[in-house]
Subunit: 70 residues, 2 copies
């Protein structure tokens, strides 16, 4: 099963921020791929099984940013 | 001899940028201390002997930024 989930990250200002988010989210168990777009804040997460959104949110916070929710 | 030189860096947007500049400039031979202020772009370099400005400029470029000159 190939799952793609998208989130929006706020607060990223440069390529270093993008790499921080990519690294932290990439370490979440089950994540097989991550893409982050600086301009829009779009975070795309690939996995083979569903991953709880709060795991992704925690990884984003670990990197120093927040998800746009709601 | 304690020398303090100041420069202005443009293009830094976040703390990651600041750390990149601090690291690169800190590796320039003779540099004994570096301070970078994100809001103003001010880069302060401490050394015991004069350091050619182009060494500092090269380090800033290595980090991915530019000095404001003139």
């Amino acid at each position: 099963m190939a799952i793609t989930s998208t989130y929006t990250v706020k607060g990223m200002t440069c390529g270093h921020c993008v790499r921080s988010v990519e690294e932290e989210v990439g370490e979440v168990p089950g994540v097989t791929g991550v893409e982050v777009e600086l301009e829009t804040g779009r975070l795309t997460v690939h996995s083979e099984a569903p991953i709880a959104a709060d795991r992704i949110e925690a990884a984003v916070k670990e990197a120093g940013y927040e998800l746009v929710t709601g």
